[in-house]
Amino acid sequence: MKRWTATLLSLFVVILAVPAAGAQKAREEIEHLPGYVDFTGLRFFEEEDLAIEVNLHGSLLGILSQSLREEDREFSELLAKLRSVRVNVFKLDADEASAVRDETRNITRALVKEGWQAVVRIRGEEESIQILLREVEGRIAGLVAMFVDDAESVGFINIVGEVDPGQVARLGRALDIDVLEAMDQTTGEEGASDLP
Protein backbone atom coordinates (compact mmCIF):
# COMPACT_ATOMS: atom_id res chain seq x y z
CA MET A 1 0.00 0.00 0.00
CA LYS A 2 2.84 2.33 0.88
CA ARG A 3 4.45 1.65 -2.50
CA TRP A 4 1.22 2.53 -4.32
CA THR A 5 0.88 5.75 -2.36
CA ALA A 6 4.44 6.71 -3.21
CA THR A 7 3.88 5.89 -6.88
CA LEU A 8 0.68 7.93 -7.09
CA LEU A 9 2.31 10.84 -5.27
CA SER A 10 5.25 10.77 -7.68
CA LEU A 11 2.84 10.74 -10.63
CA PHE A 12 0.93 13.70 -9.19
CA VAL A 13 4.11 15.71 -8.61
CA VAL A 14 5.35 14.96 -12.12
CA ILE A 15 2.02 15.97 -13.69
CA LEU A 16 2.14 19.27 -11.80
CA ALA A 17 5.74 19.92 -12.77
CA VAL A 18 5.49 19.02 -16.45
CA PRO A 19 3.71 22.17 -17.80
CA ALA A 20 6.30 24.43 -16.16
CA ALA A 21 9.09 22.21 -17.41
CA GLY A 22 7.49 22.26 -20.88
CA ALA A 23 7.43 26.08 -21.02
CA GLN A 24 11.02 26.22 -19.84
CA LYS A 25 11.95 23.56 -22.37
CA ALA A 26 10.28 25.56 -25.16
CA ARG A 27 12.27 28.68 -24.22
CA GLU A 28 15.50 26.72 -24.05
CA GLU A 29 14.73 25.08 -27.39
CA ILE A 30 14.36 28.49 -29.05
CA GLU A 31 17.56 29.75 -27.43
CA HIS A 32 19.43 26.81 -28.92
CA LEU A 33 18.17 27.36 -32.46
CA PRO A 34 20.88 28.56 -34.86
CA GLY A 35 18.90 31.69 -35.80
CA TYR A 36 18.57 32.89 -32.20
CA VAL A 37 20.71 35.78 -30.94
CA ASP A 38 20.88 36.69 -27.30
CA PHE A 39 20.56 40.46 -26.94
CA THR A 40 20.30 40.37 -23.17
CA GLY A 41 23.95 41.33 -22.96
CA LEU A 42 23.27 44.85 -24.28
CA ARG A 43 24.59 46.31 -21.07
CA PHE A 44 24.75 49.93 -22.10
CA PHE A 45 20.96 50.41 -22.18
CA GLU A 46 18.78 51.23 -19.25
CA GLU A 47 15.36 49.69 -18.82
CA GLU A 48 13.72 53.12 -18.91
CA ASP A 49 15.23 53.77 -22.36
CA LEU A 50 13.33 50.83 -23.81
CA ALA A 51 10.90 52.34 -26.31
CA ILE A 52 9.58 49.25 -28.09
CA GLU A 53 9.71 45.67 -26.96
CA VAL A 54 8.24 42.74 -28.84
CA ASN A 55 8.64 39.20 -27.59
CA LEU A 56 6.70 36.55 -29.45
CA HIS A 57 7.53 32.88 -29.19
CA GLY A 58 6.54 29.49 -30.59
CA SER A 59 3.11 28.65 -29.25
CA LEU A 60 1.67 32.17 -29.45
CA LEU A 61 3.01 32.64 -32.97
CA GLY A 62 1.40 29.35 -33.91
CA ILE A 63 -2.04 30.29 -32.66
CA LEU A 64 -1.73 33.78 -34.14
CA SER A 65 -0.90 32.25 -37.50
CA GLN A 66 -3.97 30.03 -37.28
CA SER A 67 -6.24 32.86 -36.23
CA LEU A 68 -5.11 34.97 -39.20
CA ARG A 69 -5.41 32.20 -41.77
CA GLU A 70 -8.66 33.52 -43.26
CA GLU A 71 -8.09 37.22 -42.68
CA ASP A 72 -4.52 37.58 -43.95
CA ARG A 73 -3.23 34.43 -45.54
CA GLU A 74 0.24 35.68 -46.48
CA PHE A 75 0.94 37.08 -43.03
CA SER A 76 -0.40 33.88 -41.49
CA GLU A 77 1.91 31.75 -43.64
CA LEU A 78 4.86 33.95 -42.77
CA LEU A 79 4.17 33.60 -39.04
CA ALA A 80 3.70 29.84 -39.32
CA LYS A 81 7.36 29.44 -40.25
CA LEU A 82 8.67 31.55 -37.39
CA ARG A 83 9.74 30.36 -33.94
CA SER A 84 10.44 33.70 -32.33
CA VAL A 85 10.15 37.42 -33.09
CA ARG A 86 11.94 39.87 -30.84
CA VAL A 87 12.37 43.59 -31.19
CA ASN A 88 14.10 45.94 -28.77
CA VAL A 89 14.26 49.64 -29.56
CA PHE A 90 15.99 51.99 -27.14
CA LYS A 91 16.03 55.77 -27.06
CA LEU A 92 19.46 57.12 -27.78
CA ASP A 93 21.23 60.29 -26.80
CA ALA A 94 23.48 61.83 -29.43
CA ASP A 95 26.54 61.53 -27.17
CA GLU A 96 26.05 57.76 -26.85
CA ALA A 97 25.69 57.19 -30.58
CA SER A 98 29.34 56.59 -31.34
CA ALA A 99 29.75 53.95 -28.63
CA VAL A 100 26.54 52.25 -29.68
CA ARG A 101 27.65 52.16 -33.31
CA ASP A 102 30.90 50.53 -32.19
CA GLU A 103 28.96 48.00 -30.15
CA THR A 104 26.71 47.04 -33.07
CA ARG A 105 29.79 46.57 -35.22
CA ASN A 106 31.28 44.33 -32.51
CA ILE A 107 28.07 42.32 -32.41
CA THR A 108 28.16 41.97 -36.19
CA ARG A 109 31.77 40.78 -36.10
CA ALA A 110 30.93 38.23 -33.39
CA LEU A 111 27.92 36.97 -35.33
CA VAL A 112 29.91 36.64 -38.54
CA LYS A 113 32.43 34.53 -36.63
CA GLU A 114 29.54 32.31 -35.52
CA GLY A 115 28.48 31.73 -39.12
CA TRP A 116 26.08 34.61 -39.82
CA GLN A 117 26.26 36.44 -43.14
CA ALA A 118 26.29 40.21 -43.04
CA VAL A 119 24.12 41.05 -46.04
CA VAL A 120 23.85 44.80 -45.35
CA ARG A 121 26.45 46.97 -43.63
CA ILE A 122 25.81 50.65 -44.00
CA ARG A 123 27.63 53.40 -42.16
CA GLY A 124 25.84 56.56 -43.12
CA GLU A 125 26.53 60.01 -41.80
CA GLU A 126 23.83 59.88 -39.19
CA GLU A 127 22.82 56.25 -39.10
CA SER A 128 24.18 52.77 -39.45
CA ILE A 129 22.36 49.65 -40.50
CA GLN A 130 23.45 46.04 -40.25
CA ILE A 131 21.37 43.13 -41.49
CA LEU A 132 22.58 39.57 -41.03
CA LEU A 133 21.18 36.22 -42.04
CA ARG A 134 21.89 32.77 -40.71
CA GLU A 135 21.64 30.00 -43.22
CA VAL A 136 21.48 26.33 -42.28
CA GLU A 137 21.43 23.63 -44.94
CA GLY A 138 20.47 26.10 -47.65
CA ARG A 139 17.60 27.63 -45.70
CA ILE A 140 17.46 30.85 -43.75
CA ALA A 141 17.21 30.03 -40.05
CA GLY A 142 17.27 33.54 -38.65
CA LEU A 143 17.58 37.23 -39.29
CA VAL A 144 19.16 40.00 -37.27
CA ALA A 145 18.80 43.68 -38.02
CA MET A 146 20.46 46.47 -36.07
CA PHE A 147 19.68 50.07 -36.73
CA VAL A 148 21.35 53.07 -35.10
CA ASP A 149 19.86 56.46 -35.73
CA ASP A 150 22.34 58.79 -34.05
CA ALA A 151 19.79 61.36 -33.07
CA GLU A 152 17.00 59.14 -31.98
CA SER A 153 17.17 55.42 -31.32
CA VAL A 154 18.88 52.09 -31.66
CA GLY A 155 16.92 49.00 -32.57
CA PHE A 156 17.60 45.28 -32.57
CA ILE A 157 15.47 42.71 -34.37
CA ASN A 158 15.89 38.97 -34.20
CA ILE A 159 13.52 36.78 -36.15
CA VAL A 160 14.09 33.05 -35.67
CA GLY A 161 12.72 30.58 -38.20
CA GLU A 162 12.46 30.17 -41.92
CA VAL A 163 12.18 33.83 -42.71
CA ASP A 164 12.11 35.54 -46.10
CA PRO A 165 13.49 39.05 -45.50
CA GLY A 166 11.96 40.37 -48.73
CA GLN A 167 8.54 39.11 -47.73
CA VAL A 168 8.88 40.58 -44.23
CA ALA A 169 9.87 43.96 -45.66
CA ARG A 170 7.07 43.89 -48.23
CA LEU A 171 4.44 42.91 -45.68
CA GLY A 172 5.81 45.46 -43.25
CA ARG A 173 5.56 48.23 -45.84
CA ALA A 174 2.03 47.21 -46.67
CA LEU A 175 1.05 47.63 -43.04
CA ASP A 176 1.77 51.34 -43.26
CA ILE A 177 2.70 51.61 -39.59
CA ASP A 178 4.81 54.60 -38.69
CA VAL A 179 7.34 53.03 -36.35
CA LEU A 180 8.70 56.34 -35.16
CA GLU A 181 5.21 57.46 -34.32
CA ALA A 182 4.72 54.21 -32.43
CA MET A 183 7.89 54.95 -30.50
CA ASP A 184 6.74 58.42 -29.64
CA GLN A 185 3.46 57.05 -28.36
CA THR A 186 5.06 54.37 -26.25
CA THR A 187 7.81 56.51 -24.81
CA GLY A 188 5.27 59.08 -23.76
CA GLU A 189 3.47 56.42 -21.73
CA GLU A 190 4.48 54.05 -18.99
CA GLY A 191 6.04 50.79 -20.14
CA ALA A 192 7.03 49.78 -23.60
CA SER A 193 4.40 47.27 -24.52
CA ASP A 194 1.52 49.62 -25.29
CA LEU A 195 1.90 49.60 -28.98
CA PRO A 196 -0.33 51.49 -31.41
Binding site: S59, R86, A169, R173, L175
Partner: protein
Protein backbone atom coordinates in the same frame (compact mmCIF):
# COMPACT_ATOMS: atom_id res chain seq x y z
CA UNK B 1 38.37 -14.80 30.41
CA UNK B 2 38.74 -12.92 33.64
CA UNK B 3 41.86 -10.81 33.49
CA UNK B 4 42.74 -11.05 37.17
CA UNK B 5 42.83 -14.88 37.43
CA UNK B 6 45.43 -17.19 35.77
CA UNK B 7 44.17 -19.08 32.74
CA UNK B 8 43.11 -22.70 33.04
CA UNK B 9 44.45 -25.31 30.63
CA UNK B 10 41.03 -25.55 28.92
CA UNK B 11 41.02 -21.79 28.36
CA UNK B 12 44.53 -21.91 26.95
CA UNK B 13 43.58 -24.75 24.55
CA UNK B 14 40.74 -22.58 23.23
CA UNK B 15 43.09 -19.63 22.75
CA UNK B 16 46.03 -21.52 21.23
CA UNK B 17 45.00 -21.04 17.58
CA UNK B 18 44.28 -17.31 17.81
CA UNK B 19 47.41 -16.87 19.93
CA UNK B 20 49.57 -18.52 17.28
CA UNK B 21 47.85 -16.46 14.56
CA UNK B 22 48.66 -13.27 16.50
CA UNK B 23 45.01 -12.39 16.83
CA UNK B 24 44.93 -11.89 20.60
CA UNK B 25 45.24 -8.58 22.40
CA UNK B 26 48.64 -7.98 24.00
CA UNK B 27 47.49 -8.71 27.57
CA UNK B 28 45.65 -11.92 26.64
CA UNK B 29 48.59 -13.06 24.50
CA UNK B 30 50.95 -12.49 27.45
CA UNK B 31 48.77 -14.56 29.80
CA UNK B 32 48.63 -17.46 27.30
CA UNK B 33 52.39 -17.22 26.85
CA UNK B 34 53.00 -17.32 30.62
CA UNK B 35 50.70 -20.35 31.03
CA UNK B 36 52.34 -22.25 28.14
CA UNK B 37 55.78 -21.59 29.66
CA UNK B 38 54.76 -22.91 33.07
CA UNK B 39 52.50 -25.81 31.96
CA UNK B 40 54.25 -28.76 30.23
CA UNK B 41 50.94 -30.19 28.93
CA UNK B 42 49.92 -26.98 27.26
CA UNK B 43 53.49 -26.49 25.99
CA UNK B 44 53.25 -29.91 24.29
CA UNK B 45 49.88 -28.94 22.87
CA UNK B 46 51.34 -25.70 21.54
CA UNK B 47 54.31 -27.53 20.00
CA UNK B 48 52.01 -30.01 18.29
CA UNK B 49 49.89 -27.22 16.89
CA UNK B 50 53.00 -25.39 15.65
CA UNK B 51 54.24 -28.52 13.92
CA UNK B 52 50.90 -29.03 12.19
CA UNK B 53 50.94 -25.44 10.99
CA UNK B 54 54.50 -25.76 9.71
CA UNK B 55 53.70 -29.05 8.02
CA UNK B 56 50.67 -27.58 6.32
CA UNK B 57 52.64 -24.52 5.27
CA UNK B 58 55.26 -26.77 3.64
CA UNK B 59 52.71 -28.54 1.44
CA UNK B 60 52.63 -27.43 -2.23
CA UNK B 61 49.70 -25.28 -3.46
CA UNK B 62 47.32 -27.27 -5.62
CA UNK B 63 45.00 -25.82 -8.26
CA UNK B 64 41.39 -26.77 -7.80
CA UNK B 65 39.95 -28.25 -11.02
CA UNK B 66 37.20 -26.32 -12.85
CA UNK B 67 34.88 -29.27 -12.44
CA UNK B 68 34.87 -28.48 -8.71
CA UNK B 69 35.21 -24.67 -8.83
CA UNK B 70 32.38 -23.92 -11.32
CA UNK B 71 29.59 -25.80 -9.49
CA UNK B 72 30.68 -24.12 -6.24
CA UNK B 73 30.60 -20.65 -7.85
CA UNK B 74 27.20 -21.35 -9.43
CA UNK B 75 25.85 -22.41 -6.09
CA UNK B 76 27.29 -19.28 -4.46
CA UNK B 77 25.72 -17.03 -7.12
CA UNK B 78 22.33 -18.65 -6.62
CA UNK B 79 22.56 -18.05 -2.89
CA UNK B 80 23.58 -14.44 -3.44
CA UNK B 81 20.67 -13.82 -5.81
CA UNK B 82 18.29 -15.39 -3.31
CA UNK B 83 19.51 -12.81 -0.81
CA UNK B 84 18.72 -9.84 -3.08
CA UNK B 85 15.41 -7.93 -2.77
CA UNK B 86 12.62 -9.53 -4.70
CA UNK B 87 11.62 -7.92 -7.99
CA UNK B 88 8.63 -5.57 -7.85
CA UNK B 89 5.21 -7.02 -8.15
CA UNK B 90 3.33 -6.91 -11.47
CA UNK B 91 1.04 -4.16 -10.18
CA UNK B 92 3.97 -1.99 -9.20
CA UNK B 93 5.64 -2.61 -12.54
CA UNK B 94 2.43 -1.59 -14.32
CA UNK B 95 2.25 1.63 -12.28
CA UNK B 96 5.88 2.44 -13.07
CA UNK B 97 5.29 1.76 -16.77
CA UNK B 98 2.22 4.05 -16.76
CA UNK B 99 4.22 6.78 -15.04
CA UNK B 100 6.97 6.48 -17.64
CA UNK B 101 4.46 6.59 -20.48
CA UNK B 102 2.74 9.70 -19.10
CA UNK B 103 6.00 11.52 -18.47
CA UNK B 104 7.42 10.46 -21.83
CA UNK B 105 4.30 11.54 -23.72
CA UNK B 106 4.23 14.92 -21.97
CA UNK B 107 7.88 15.58 -22.66
CA UNK B 108 7.71 14.40 -26.26
CA UNK B 109 4.69 16.56 -27.04
CA UNK B 110 5.62 19.32 -29.50
CA UNK B 111 6.10 22.57 -27.67
CA UNK B 112 4.96 24.88 -30.44
CA UNK B 113 1.35 23.91 -31.13
CA UNK B 114 -1.26 26.55 -30.54
CA UNK B 115 -2.06 27.18 -26.91
CA UNK B 116 -5.71 26.66 -26.19
CA UNK B 117 -5.63 29.27 -23.44
CA UNK B 118 -4.61 32.39 -25.42
CA UNK B 119 -7.24 35.02 -24.73
CA UNK B 120 -8.59 37.31 -27.49
CA UNK B 121 -6.75 40.21 -25.83
CA UNK B 122 -3.50 38.27 -25.86
CA UNK B 123 -4.01 37.42 -29.51
CA UNK B 124 -4.82 41.00 -30.45
CA UNK B 125 -1.71 42.22 -28.65
CA UNK B 126 0.41 39.52 -30.28
CA UNK B 127 -0.91 40.46 -33.72
CA UNK B 128 -0.13 44.11 -33.08
CA UNK B 129 3.37 43.21 -31.87
CA UNK B 130 4.04 40.98 -34.88
CA UNK B 131 2.87 43.64 -37.32
CA UNK B 132 4.96 46.28 -35.58
CA UNK B 133 8.04 44.03 -35.77
CA UNK B 134 7.51 43.55 -39.50
CA UNK B 135 6.92 47.28 -39.98
CA UNK B 136 10.11 48.08 -38.09
CA UNK B 137 12.11 45.72 -40.26
CA UNK B 138 10.49 47.25 -43.36
CA UNK B 139 11.50 50.69 -42.14
CA UNK B 140 15.11 49.55 -41.63
CA UNK B 141 15.28 47.96 -45.08
CA UNK B 142 13.70 51.08 -46.63
CA UNK B 143 16.33 53.27 -44.99
CA UNK B 144 19.05 50.86 -46.09
CA UNK B 145 17.80 51.06 -49.68
CA UNK B 146 17.65 54.86 -49.54
CA UNK B 147 21.15 55.15 -48.12
CA UNK B 148 22.54 52.68 -50.64
CA UNK B 149 20.80 54.49 -53.49
CA UNK B 150 22.13 57.84 -52.31
CA UNK B 151 25.64 56.45 -52.02
CA UNK B 152 25.48 54.82 -55.46
CA UNK B 153 24.07 57.96 -57.05
CA UNK B 154 26.67 60.10 -55.36
CA UNK B 155 29.47 57.83 -56.46
CA UNK B 156 28.45 57.05 -60.03
CA UNK B 157 26.40 60.06 -61.15
CA UNK B 158 28.46 62.83 -59.60
CA UNK B 159 31.77 61.28 -60.62
CA UNK B 160 31.21 62.12 -64.33
CA UNK B 161 30.53 65.87 -63.99
CA UNK B 162 33.29 66.19 -61.36
CA UNK B 163 35.79 64.53 -63.72
CA UNK B 164 34.64 66.82 -66.55
CA UNK B 165 35.09 69.87 -64.34
CA UNK B 166 38.54 68.69 -63.30
CA UNK B 167 39.48 68.16 -66.93
CA UNK B 168 38.30 71.64 -67.84
CA UNK B 169 40.18 73.13 -64.92
CA UNK B 170 43.43 71.28 -65.69
CA UNK B 171 43.58 70.61 -69.44
CA UNK B 172 47.31 69.79 -69.27
CA UNK B 173 46.59 66.61 -67.36
CA UNK B 174 44.45 65.33 -70.25
CA UNK B 175 47.36 65.31 -72.70
CA UNK B 176 49.58 62.27 -72.44
Amino acid sequence: VKRSQPLTCAEVHALLEPWMDGELEAQAARRVHLHVESCPGCADEADAARRVREGLGALPLLACPDSVVQPVLRQARRRLLRGLPRPASTALLAAAATLLLVVGALFLMPTSPPRPDASPQELAQAEQDARLAMAYFAEISRRASLTLRDEVIARHVSEVPMATLDALRNPAEETP
